[in-house]
Structures are given as structure tokens and as C-alpha cells.
Symmetry: C2
């Protein structure tokens, strides 16, 4: 993956530049353009919600993604509608790709101030089909690694037929923002004496015990990268 140059050489540490559509109209204090924060939110997930426009109407579909430097990659069947569209259109397809981690339920004394703690990243841009063999390999490995680090080296790589059936699409990290809410509820001062519990219920995500395939050779042990999850 180190062969892939960043989308914006020399900009590795600078924040993303805010644009009209990445500056929220409200709760602006929650918005951030910090590159490290954006990367950390992206790197913690592997399922995004991809939005695009079809026949003038919005479509939002969940899909796997990977970050490689300043690029996001998604993939899919060459027969799937969004990937066909991204491939067929020149110069690409306008997309909005959103990743959200929900961290806690925020319970205020007032119904109005109920909220959630979360970290989200919204990426606006143009999805473009990747055609170079090396970049396609890099992207496909990265998509497997994003969900299960260590796995891409412990599975059979795609063969020519599988590669031909797989579309890879790239979205540069350029017009990007994060939004984060943390902490407890923001109750009105006059509500503090109300007899309602207030605070945060943290949410957790975890892994269950891996379930081997029925036809797995019993001599194949659980690999370390799965045991460590």
C-alpha cells in the first residue's frame, strides 16, 4: 500500500479545507476538519453508507470500504447499479459517503435535550472507476484488511475471472468533515432538580467466538489475527 501516493502530496498534516457543504448550519462546534480525527473515524469502521443520485432521486446503500492514504475504495460486482454508473459516466459519479460510530445514548432530564454521542465522517466527491491492475489489487487487499487486519495474506487472492467481475471505485479524501459529540447531557438549569435520571448509556461493539465452516479441515487452527479480535 505504500506505493500508492497520497491524493494531495504535502498536505498530510494540514486539516481538510472546509467548503460550503461541509460547514453545518447548526452545531458547528461539533464539526472538525482535522485529518487525524477523520482518519481515525474512517479506520475504525469498514461499512459505510454510500449515497448517489439515480433518476434525480437519492439512493443510500451500505457497502464495505477501505482507506488507503487519502483515498477511499469501495468495490462490488460489475453488474451492480452504483458501480455500473460510476464506470459508465465520465467524469465519474457524484457521491456522498458517510461513516457513523454510535458511542452512547445521552439521556437528559428533558426529552428535547436527548441525544447520542457519535463520531461521523461525511465525504463528498466524485467516485471514479479504478482500472490500473496494481491499484485494483491494492484496493481489494485493503478492503479485506479494513474489516479483518491480517486476512488479505491468509486467503486466496482473486484470480483473473474474479478480478474481471469486480469493479473498484475510488473516492479521494478532499471535501471531508467529521462530526463528534461526546460528554453528558446539556440540561437547562431549571431542569436540574427534576426527578429524572440523567446521564449517558455507553454503547459497545464486540466480536463473538468465531464459528468455523462446517467443511473446515479440523487441522486448521484459528489464526492469531482472529483470536486477537
Amino acid at each position: 500500500m505504500s506505493e500508492t501516493p497520497p491524493a494531495s502530496p504535502g498536505q498530510q498534516d494540514a486539516p481538510y479545507a472546509p467548503t460550503a457543504r461541509t460547514v453545518p448550519t447548526r452545531a458547528r462546534e461539533r464539526a472538525s476538519y482535522d485529518r487525524e480525527l477523520v482518519h481515525s473515524v474512517l479506520d475504525e469502521g469498514y461499512v459505510c453508507h454510500l449515497g448517489f443520485v439515480r433518476d434525480g432521486a437519492p439512493v443510500v446503500l451500505p457497502t464495505l470500504y477501505a482507506r488507503v492514504g487519502e483515498r477511499l475504495y469501495i468495490h462490488g460486482s460489475t453488474g451492480s447499479r452504483p458501480l455500473r454508473t460510476a464506470g459508465a459516466t465520465d467524469p465519474g459519479m457524484a457521491v456522498c459517503l458517510t461513516i457513523t460510530h454510535v458511542d452512547g445514548l445521552v439521556l437528559a432530564r428533558s426529552a428535547f435535550h436527548h441525544s447520542i454521542n457519535y463520531r461521523s465522517v461525511v465525504v463528498h466527491g466524485t467516485a471514479r472507476r479504478v482500472t490500473g491492475a496494481d491499484e485494483r489489487r491494492t484496493a481489494l487487499d485493503a478492503i479485506v484488511e479494513q474489516a479483518v487486519p491480517g486476512r488479505s495474506q491468509d486467503s486466496r487472492p482473486a484470480d483473473a475471472k474474479e478480478l474481471a467481475a469486480t469493479a473498484v471505485v475510488r473516492l479521494d479524501l478532499d471535501e471531508v468533515s467529521a462530526k463528534v459529540r461526546t460528554g453528558g447531557p446539556s440540561d437547562e438549569p431549571e431542569d436540574l432538580a427534576l426527578p429524572y435520571w440523567s446521564g449517558v448509556v455507553p454503547l459497545s461493539r464486540g466480536y463473538g467466538a468465531p464459528v468455523p465452516s462446517d467443511d473446515l479441515d479440523p487441522g486448521i487452527a484459528l489464526p492469531g489475527y482472529l483470536a486477537r479480535l
Copy 2:
């Protein structure tokens, strides 16, 4: 909530009618229009990804939602862009609302057959501002209840000023589909003897111990509906 009539009276048990945009071009066997399945996926979540079109480009934002019968409700500040748009446009705003639960990582011997187990629901339709006081109250209670059942009766209801600052938007469940993948990997027969672990890593979601606000009266015990989470 029982006062709110279903969007399609008499259709409570029938599946949703497939349309051109709810029939996938691939993996059709994963698509379902079963009303009970759609409801169960919707009822298990409370954060959706809402897609709409602004200046011709897609926008996808995470937001809270609630299901009440055959309607979904979302809410937000009257100053937020999507809700302003839904209110300002007649006859409403075209949206796509998607909910996804990720249940497992599916590890095949081949990189190509890696997948995830998931349950998602995609709703296409028109979001319309709700103006009736009763329906707005129902919706706002339902949004709190969707995340924390029992909470709407154990918090201060919105006052007139808060209600005036809150936009409520409705989306009827009409053009809807679910998509579900379950089970183990689908390896190619010729890959079964490869020396790679294969199977499923289940994913779990849970709640941490509730964290009371610093200023909570220590005499207020954790309510049962939170202790049971």
C-alpha cells in the same frame, strides 16, 4: 401511538410491493419485501442514514428515527438543512432512508468470497413536514422510545418553545425492501482444500454501565428500563 392510523389501511400483513428501484440487479435472493421482516429490522435500530439531493448532489447524514406503524419519523432543528428543505418544498423532499445492522464477518478461503452478514432496510419516498400537534407529539415520543423504551414517560416533555424549534418529518413505508445475508462463506468447490481458516466472526452490540451526570441527585436511582438494557 395507537391513534395513528397505518399509512395503508388493510395492508398490515401483505408484503410491500416491489418497484423498479427496490428490486436489486444482483443478489436478488437476498431481497425481501416481507412486512414483518422490514419492521423487525427497523425496530432493532434507532440511527438511520438519510439521503437527499442538494444542488444536484447526494447528501447522506446519520439521524435518529422511529417507526410508528407504517410511518417513519425523523426530527431535527428547524434550522437544519434537510429539515428546512423538507419543510420548504412542496410536495416534500425525495429521500432514501437506510438502516443497516452488521451481524458478522464472513471469511471465505478466497478473498473474492469474503462478505458480511447483515440486515438492511432501504426506504424510498417523500419526506413531508408534520404540522399537526398530536402527530408531532406522537413522533417525538416515539423517537425517544425507539432508542430507550420507557424513557419518554420518564423525562420532561418538550415545552412550547422547544416544540417550535423542532421540525418533525414523516416518511411513509411504501416503497421498501429489506436485504439480508446470513450463514457461512460460499467458497468455490476447488478452494475447499486450501489451508485457510474459513467461517464467520459474529459481531455483537451491547450497553456499558450507565454513567450518571455529575449533577444528578444521588437519591435518583437508575430506572428499571435502563437497568434492563
